[in-house]
Symmetry: C2
Subunit: 156 residues, 2 copies
Amino acid sequence: MAMMNEAATDRETELIARLQSAGYRLTPQRLALVRLLAHDTSHPSADQIYARLRADFPTVSLATVYNTLDVLVELGEALPLDLNEGSTRYDVRRPSAHPHVVCRLCGRVDDLEMDDLAEFVRKARSRTSYGDLHPRIYFEGICPTCAASTERRSEE
Amino acid sequence: MAMMNEAATDRETELIARLQSAGYRLTPQRLALVRLLAHDTSHPSADQIYARLRADFPTVSLATVYNTLDVLVELGEALPLDLNEGSTRYDVRRPSAHPHVVCRLCGRVDDLEMDDLAEFVRKARSRTSYGDLHPRIYFEGICPTCAASTERRSEE
DNA sequence: TTAGGTGCAAATCATTTGCAATCTC
DNA sequence: GAGATTGCAAATGATTTGCACCTAA
């Protein structure tokens, strides 16, 4: 647990440093947004980020949220996830491309550790004439919570 | 070549049979759409299908194209591809989930043969508590054509 | 005759953009 | 003061929907 908090704090500091050294201004909203995202493991959408940010900054606009997310993506510090879910979700804690699982029912998103991803990508490269290949991998499924409630329902 | 045409014709017949046995009417538009898709290897978007269909059926509407595509997807005969490209592309020739490559520059889409996909999916299943897992895998890259023209441009 | 199909126009929803006001270096 | 940042409202673009008409078993 101590490790997790440490890591999260590190990520926050890292992001702030990154934004500043890239010449971006660190406004109160941006600071709050970065803090939010550095600690958030839920892979939120722009809309969800907007809703949470408004608790502290009632005047913040959705456009600003999108703006800041774009900046983070440009810097390679946020990974946009297109999970066929309507809206784009963002992974700011681990911005390098990695697989995810999405719950088909509730939209919950989790990271998926695939230690053989590199091998998989290497094989893909060897089987296509396309260059500069980057993986976009996720799995649709049913999360444990939804599975449990579905089961309960069918037992009735 | 003979094999390809045969396979394509088979797919066309297959699709027609599938639609009819599922109780769907085979209207002239649907027939034309199915024919188009059975032979099309370009993974077209609804819009592209619409444009081509209008050559033969000037009054066809985009809503009808979406309708018919939805029917095919429901029957498991079309694979919708969300390639982070703005619009959904469709693979009707090989409707079972398989990896693709997309060109970042021109949007070209090709199938990618990954004979170890099953193994990869098996490993994913063993590493998550999500059930009923289905893969959504594609790679972004630069197609040979775009790579060639980019090279040419930088040589000038 | 009746449910399935069709076409049009309007609605929806995520995202982007124009622009004037504001802030920061 | 120049350039970045913000917020609002309007624009965009893919997809869906409401609804009246049509058409084949």
